[in-house]
């Protein structure tokens, strides 16, 4: 009896995430593969790829080698590795390199490969910060930052993911988090003036991120009925706390307060650290709820 109960629980969990035969694709049905169970790896992989590439991108402008190294390592060893761990057949990951013309995922592998090779060269080469290298790496960074949401964006079946604002939101959030990591690195390395000088960009990227977030919600709500359902899901029982505390509280309100406190470049290490932690948590929450709330259109 216990085993039967266990099986029923596995197939139809009480949280409603399982398939109920009478509801499946009759009502808006939530996507599960890219967030539930092992799908959580993908969420983390997208996040780490984004902050690593974001850090690398911002470091290029300041020619800050420590930032390049850390960004490169995060992107490849956290983002890349977790991506591979998500796969059902990780040992076959190389196959994705063989068909770059097929999909965003395959193209992403080439972009990450190019980023790994050229990034390594830039880091080890004495004159790595030249215009050509910087431009190529900046483009690769932007592609990697947006890669996670780009793979989601091409999925027309999920209007919440194919929303126009998904890519801008992804790019801005990546640069915003990367900028925050670099600012903290500058603050802890004793270059307070450098950290203070970066505050203007923190202000710019914070407001750009907030604007993108608002436009995403507004655009998806008005795009279609199913998009509207997805936005409504952000406030359902399961996601309400994450949306309010994570996305709004930690992703917007707390960073806004801290940004206002440090307005005009009056920065200090602790507040920068607090804002970075808050922004990371907010970014994770934002990605989580977007991935978790997306629903398919009913079939009949």
């Amino acid at each position: 009896m216990g085993k039967i109960h266990e099986l029923v629980q596995t197939m139809f969990p009480p949280d409603g995430s399982g398939l109920k035969p009478y509801e499946w694709m009759m009502n808006p049905t939530r996507q599960r593969e890219w967030i539930d169970k092992k799908g959580i790896f993908l969420w983390l992989a997208f996040f780490f790829s984004e902050i690593g590439a974001g850090l690398y991108f911002v470091s290029l402008f300041y020619e800050y080698k420590a930032g390049l190294i850390l960004g490169w390592l995060i992107t490849l060893f956290l983002g890349g590795l977790i991506h591979v761990l998500y796969l059902g057949q990780p040992t076959r990951a190389w196959r994705m390199f063989m068909k770059p013309n097929t999909s965003e995922l395959a193209r992403g592998m080439w972009i990450i490969g190019a980023f790994a090779a050229l990034g390594f060269l830039q880091i080890v080469t004495a004159g790595g910060f030249n215009m050509v290298f910087n431009t190529i790496m900046a483009i690769l960074c932007l592609l990697i930052i947006s890669h996670g949401f780009a793979t989601m964006n091409v999925i027309k079946a999920l209007p919440a993911w194919s929303s126009t604002m998904v890519l801008p939101l992804s790019v801005i959030s990546g640069i915003w988090v990367g900028q925050q990591v670099l600012q903290l690195m500058a603050a802890v390395s004793g270059t307070a003036g450098f950290a203070s000088g970066m505050e203007i960009w923190a202000e710019v990227f914070f407001f750009a991120y907030f604007l993108c977030l608002l436009l995403y919600v507004w655009g998806t709500w008005h795009a279609s009925d199913i998009g509207k359902e997805s936005i409504k899901n952000l406030t359902n029982e399961e996601l309400l706390k994450i949306s309010l505390i994570g996305v709004v509280g930690l992703g917007v309100v707390l960073p806004l307060i801290l940004t206002l406190i440090m307005w005009g470049g009056d920065t200090n290490g602790f507040l920068i650290f607090l804002r970075l932690a808050s922004v990371c948590a907010g970014d994770l929450a934002m990605r989580f709820v977007i991935m978790k709330s997306a629903v398919y259109k009913p079939l009949i």
Partner: protein
């Protein structure tokens, strides 16, 4: 070269779930995995409401979203229009599964493989036989293949898919009310084309632009 397709008459369907069971039997599908489903809903408001019964399976789309999403080419469209998964190439990224607007794919992981029809009592001889006869690879995606094995074996014997039961998908042959018709969409004289033309066959969720090979008539 034919392009295999199906016509389902939703007015004939009595929702007996015979197709669902025949499919599970044909492919030895574990508990909770379905290549064929029957959706039942309602439309309209009383007193002009009506019941909707839609048998659902992979649409074998000619502009398949799953094929476009596959990063390794594991999901591909055969010359005869059947969308298949090469489990030797599948990396288990599940991009196809997420992309499919019809949600007709299943990720086959260890948890699915370990499911028993009689939980706690071990797998039956039939389940064990099924794992040998119809082995799925753990960590890959599985789906309806229009019973391509039956089609191929049948055609080797000179049988005609859609007419001879041995060469026709199991869900079609089991249907007690002949709600399903299988045949060649490229043949203008085929039964499927006649039904599509005469009864104005509709594809499910045409707005996704996937060009399904399964048509519904009523």
């Amino acid at each position: 070269m034919p392009r295999w397709g199906m016509v389902i008459d939703v007015k004939r369907c009595i929702a007996c779930w015979g197709c669902t069971i025949a499919c599970k039997e044909e492919h030895f599908l574990p508990p909770g995995v379905f290549f064929n489903r029957v959706l039942i809903g309602e439309t309209g408001k009383f007193p002009s409401s009506s019941k909707l019964i839609y048998p659902i399976l992979c649409n074998h789309c000619s502009e398949a979203a799953c094929v476009e999403a596959c990063p390794t080419g594991a999901t591909y469209i055969r010359e005869d229009g059947i969308v298949e998964v090469d489990d030797d190439k599948c990396v288990g990224c599940r991009a196809c599964l997420v992309s499919c607007p019809y949600q007709q794919r299943t990720y086959y992981d260890q948890e699915v493989k370990d499911r028993e029809y009689f939980p706690g009592q071990g797998k039956t001889q039939l389940e064990l036989l099924g794992e040998k006869l119809y082995p799925f690879k753990v960590g890959t995606v599985i789906k309806c293949n229009f019973c391509s094995e039956r089609l191929e074996d049948g055609m080797k014997k000179g049988l005609e898919p859609g007419k001879d039961e041995e060469a026709t998908p199991a869900c079609v042959t089991i249907c007690p009310v002949n709600a399903r018709v299988f045949g060649d969409l490229n043949d203008p004289d085929s039964e499927v084309n006649r039904l599509i033309m005469e009864k104005k066959g509709k594809q499910l969720r045409k707005e996704f632009g996937t060009e399904p090979a399964v048509y519904y008539i009523d």
